[in-house]
Amino acid sequence: MRLVTTFTLFASLTVAAVDYSSSLTSGKADMKSAGSLAFGPDGILFVGDSIGAAIFAIDTRDRKSAASSGSVEIAGINEKIAAMLGTAPDQILINDMAVNPLSKNAYLSVSRGKGPDAIPVIVRVSRAGKLEEIPLDKVKHSRADLPNPVEAKKDARGNNLRLDAITDLAFVDGKVFVAGLSNEEFSSNLRSIPFPFKAVEKGASVEIYHGQHGRFETNSPVRTFVPYEIKSEAYLLAAYTCTPLVKFPVSSLKPGTKVMGTTIAELGNRNRPLDMIIYQKGGHDLILMNNSSRGVMKMSAENLDKFEPIKSQVERQGVQYETLAGWKGVEQLDKFDKDNAMMLVRNDGGSLDLKTVALP
């Protein structure tokens, strides 16, 4: 997800004289899986392929700005996608959602099938509710292979069992940031990959530590993050796998360095952020996040520069957050336009609805 934020906050940085499209070539995007999504410039969609250990840049050719945003409400979107793909709703997984900041069309990464040979599909959902597959067998694209941080050995069957699940992507200041979570070692694995893609350096991951209350620290994986500008400096607001919400300046994320995030909020048990968006309302900057218990939380994104980090256990408070009582079942969240969010919501009947909701 996370594209509008990137665009509004970093527009001045990304509108460099780079012809992104010319770095892409036509042909088959050989994706093994389609997971995390994020929009870059000019309708380019970044897709995280965990099984193929790669990031793809796909030219959606969807660059026309929407004259007006309107609203979207498509009930049972998972049933419609399953039907289009010729299968049953329980045989697909919707892995992520991103809204194109130009056209406001929604893009969903889907697995057709649930086993390891599931087919990756990217579906575009127009504001009028029309579904369309992005033809991955013939599309302008480029890929960046993620190096395996350890020279993993093969098992008796000749397989390398180690894999990084790509848990989040964002495009900031000409780079794709990729958060990964290994299925073996517990360590941080955040990479920045300049776009247009070149070879990714093996040592390009940053070691990010989580220091808690000035005492304990772990080499903790970042699970989700969102770019945000504080006093003209680009930051990532990130949620660690072990819960707290932290900030660190993008400029500090240099390969091979040890970076310590500053804790800005402790969200408590059952409140692990899944997606975060930042928006303005009534002259204030706000953060909206959906969490692991499928609820939605709201907090202020202002004065994070002046914010005193949580240092001791008596100062548990941090930035205050509010849980929005009426918002339930939210599995995916992205910004739609300046006044609305787009959400994928699990309804009472168990199917998924795609809809826009006014930002609170």
Partner: protein, 341 residues
């Protein structure tokens, strides 16, 4: 993918030429047939889009080729010029065959700050339903609330045979709100059972052959980083292909024992061979592809090797930064030397 013969259920209007299913291709016979008149979809209620695929005009009529394989057990609806035909793809009758073959750590006593389980299955499994089929029960048989880090991106290997289940690190790491509010998922002295229920579907949509249970006793937290000085190496004999073995005083992470250790010459050249982990992950063995030649060898162990609680070589899972427990890490691997005579 093979299909049994489709069943033509109900050609309602006989005036228009019926659609037939020829293998995996929907066909309409006759010259002059038009693709615009043909709509194929899954037979489902509501306003659903047409099936993804391509229609071509061929010598003997129309051919619609679905982009994806037809799904056994589903019914498809073909409408040509107002005439409706239904096609049911028979369900495949498959008996459940997948099973849980092993869970690591394999020991019956596990430190209360355990970081992860590895579940090994005999066949590729379905994604997206792991946490519905995993329960951790206490001694009374009551489920422990939210012991695991439930993430949408389930941590499978490429083949879908091994799932890594992380205990919630926010509850394990000292000083965090979840750790202080609700505490560790398991506590020392308690008896627990990990239950993998039989409803978990394999990649073919079949349930497991049977439920799997692993019982264990939780021991005191392990906050001591593994110390290579306590490891015991047993060198093999020259001219034989017996394994070199490395024994640890505590069980280590099963996957990382296989990923992060290799045998080299002192100059760093890799020795080909295969490895085994046994004795409840307290012994690692390496059998060379060719008989050992006399000389010096090195077992290179990456510093990121973890024990069951996520402590790595020289570094506990959560470091108390005031006490500066952390050792200066200068090299990425710890060498363990042995001589073959």
């Amino acid at each position: 993918m093979r299909f049994l013969a489709p069943i033509l259920l109900a050609p309602l209007l006989l005036a228009a030429p019926p659609v037939r299913l020829d293998g995996t291709v929907f066909r309409v016979s006759g010259g002059g047939a038009r693709c615009e008149e043909l709509v194929i979809s899954v037979d489902a209620p509501g306003d659903i889009p047409a099936l993804s695929g391509s229609c071509t005009v061929e010598a003997d009529g129309l051919a619609f080729r679905p982009k994806y394989a037809l799904q056994p057990g589903l019914r498809y609806r073909a409408v040509y010029s107002g005439a409706v035909s239904m096609f049911e793809i028979p369900k495949r009758v498959v008996t459940p065959s997948a099973a849980v073959v092993q869970v690591f750590p394999s020991s019956a006593v596990i430190p209360e700050n355990i970081l992860k389980f590895y579940l090994h299955f005999s066949a590729p499994m379905s994604r997206g339903e792991a946490y519905q089929h995993l329960r951790l029960l206490d001694a009374k048989g009551a489920p422990v609330a939210l012991p695991f880090l439930e993430i949408d991106q389930e941590l499978w290997d490429r083949e879908g045979r091994r799932l890594t289940v992380l205990f919630d690190p926010g509850r394990i790491k000292r000083g965090l709100a979840p750790n202080e509010e609700v505490g560790l998922p398991v506590t020392a002295g308690g008896r627990y059972t990990l239950v993998i229920d039989a409803g978990w579907q394999d990649a073919a949509g079949q349930p497991l052959k049977s439920e799997f249970r692993k019982e264990f006793l939780a021991a005191e937290a392990d906050r001591t980083p593994p110390d290579p000085k306590t490891w015991k190496i047993t060198a093999p004999t020259a001219g034989k292909s017996h394994p070199v073995s490395l024994e640890f005083p505590e069980p280590m992470d099963h996957a990382l024992l296989r990923s992060l250790i290799e045998v080299t010459t002192p100059a760093g050249r890799s020795i080909a061979g295969s490895m085994d982990v046994d004795h409840e992950e307290m012994r690692w063995q390496f059998t060379p592809a060719d008989p050992w030649k006399p000389g010096e060898y090195v077992v290179q162990v990456a510093r990121t090797l973890e024990d069951r609680a996520g402590n790595t070589l020289g570094r506990p899972f959560d470091v108390d930064v005031f006490e500066r427990v952390e050792a200066r890490i200068l090299k990425e691997t710890v060498p363990v030397y042995f001589t073959v005579r």
